[in-house]
Symmetry: C2
């Protein structure tokens, strides 16, 4: 996915990248072979460093790749002083990327890209609420769109940390796959844009635990009531703007189709992503919704095409097989499900 993303997004061929936790160096070498650019492949582990060096030699990339054996934050902060600026940084740690986020932005050039992997889905999706509070500063509850909540929380956290250092971020491509989240973001060194991003895109999700209604709000005190009459729960701060740019997905798909040896799964994810990308509302889990509505669950494909017939956007999501993304109002959605269940 990383090479596809860089191929379709990186405009210049002589870019400079860093793979912070390179392991054996596989990803960096793929980037260099498939996309181009020069790179620093870093790993703190001396054994990994040994393999990185060997793999660079094996692939004859000595002129373009350099192996480093540094603590990740140290390397990035050393680069700040060196005056070298980076076009792409890959952050793929064990667990949370939080300990690296603040160092990642400082050595970036005016406009750059970052790929971040997070394997701490449990705190991100509120499975461990105490850990969520400590690491991501949110008091939260379990929701039915937990995978999307994880992505949005990771993006908001990254955006806030970036803004404090004077950088504005735009999420270009966000995915969850199995136990990890991976996001690609564009970063721009601009105090004014950083303000606009934080002001517009870092907000709250209101959520009704009884009816599963949900929506975004920038003012946590301004939420509608649930149809049950209860007050909704307010979650956040989290990311409320789009988490993927349609144009990026199209271009990545185009690159993917050119590539023969891709895993089928990657293609499938990208195709689902293309469909869901224009709908910003968090997905709703159909099984949970049907249990709230007390009806049998209709076939999700049937529901999607029915909603589309009625003129709404509707699609499945790559994040959860039981998830439905739609811009249909809640009452309409419920009405269609009742109708399908009656048949």
């Amino acid at each position: 996915l990383t090479t596809l993303f860089l191929k379709s997004t990186m405009l210049k061929r002589d870019f400079l990248f860093v793979d912070l936790r390179a392991g054996g160096g596989g990803r960096g070498i793929r980037i260099s072979l498939d996309v181009g650019g020069e790179g620093l492949l870093n790993d703190m582990d001396p054994r990994a460093y040994h393999y990185i060096k060997r793999n660079i030699l094996v692939n004859k990339l000595e002129g373009r790749l350099e192996a480093y054996n540094q603590e990740a934050n140290t390397l990035l902060n050393m680069l700040v002083l060196s005056g070298i600026t980076l076009d792409y940084v890959d952050v793929d740690p064990y667990g949370s990327p939080i300990p690296y986020i603040d160092s990642v932005f400082k050595p970036l050039c005016k406009k750059a890209y970052i790929g971040i992997t997070a394997t701490d889905l449990a705190p991100l999706s509120c499975t461990h609420p105490r850990k969520t509070l400590v690491r991501y500063w949110n008091k939260c509850i379990r929701v039915d769109f937990e995978k999307e909540y994880a992505l949005r929380l990771l993006i908001a956290s990254t955006a806030m940390r970036a803004a404090a250092l004077g950088f504005a971020v735009t999420p270009l491509l966000s995915t969850v796959y199995k136990h990890y989240a991976r996001i690609f973001i564009e970063s721009e060194r601009s105090y004014n844009r950083a303000f606009r991003v934080i002001n517009e895109c870092v907000g709250y999700i209101w959520y009704c635990t009884d009816t599963l209604e949900r929506g975004y709000t920038r003012d946590p005190y301004d939420t509608p009531n649930c149809t049950s009459g209860k007050r909704p729960i307010v979650l956040g701060k989290t990311w409320i703007c789009s988490i993927t740019v349609p144009d990026t997905v199209s271009r990545v798909l185009l690159e993917a189709e050119k590539t023969g040896f891709l895993r089928l799964e990657t293609l499938k994810i990208l195709e689902k992503l293309r469909d869901e990308v224009s709908i910003n509302t968090p997905y709703i889990r159909l099984d949970k919704l049907c249990s709230v509505l007390k009806v049998n669950m209709p076939k999700i494909d049937l529901l999607v095409s029915k909603l589309r017939e009625l003129g709404f956007q509707a699609t499945k999501t790559h994040m959860d097989v039981r998830g439905l993304k739609t811009n249909a109002p809640f009452e309409e959605l419920a009405r269609v499900i009742y109708e399908l269940a009656k048949r």
Copy 2:
């Protein structure tokens, strides 16, 4: 103040400290001469580095102090790998300490101390609300206790960043003087304590812009109404626990009295601090309150002694000459002011 703090707080004599932005090295040399310990004095500027080396030689501290010429974050992250753990770190940058906070905690030992200076009082006290949002993530308004707001925001921000890395903080001594804030905090490597700190002490201040009533709340939806009937504004997240520990102030004052050559001003601040430390409510600016109450301003000393006669705690604050700290309920305070104004 730093040497007094360390003298009274640091229990062992063979502690290790880092002065991150040491300038000419004055503070580090004073610590070493007056308190003891071994230290790394660091400055990114090669000229500063030159002076640090010279001053170490002049003071014959070659055995105990070492000069470094590194970017501050790089130095701290290098120490993480080295296995050396620090007992005290001094962070005294130009402007905001935010770019350094995340690196400061990682090389600390189980229990350590940090001294932080912030000269960005304008965003901290909401004079530039856009900058406050970008750097400290708070949507805020100007309040009459702006200096205390600045301290609390700086502490909350530090505590949240520390918690994300698994550290719990306790503010021991917090002061504002002229255009800068200085806080001394204790840090402990403990995930559970970090959770407790964030859960209990990072909350919200509710504030009535028309009547100047204020108070703390952990639940932003649970605030009383203003006596005017309006809903108060909710500020935060910010620090709502105590910002200074009485015991620390007493011990620092004891050290201060032993020292002959202290500036009178430092002593005065410490004495005021001793009086105000037990009152956690933010100070109220008497001039603004009297203009809301539409009465002439009484002498603040008179008001203080009157409130004390009535059995309340009341004191002036070192943060603002017009500021009053009291635990008297708002109606009582207003009643006493009216009474004094009538005479």
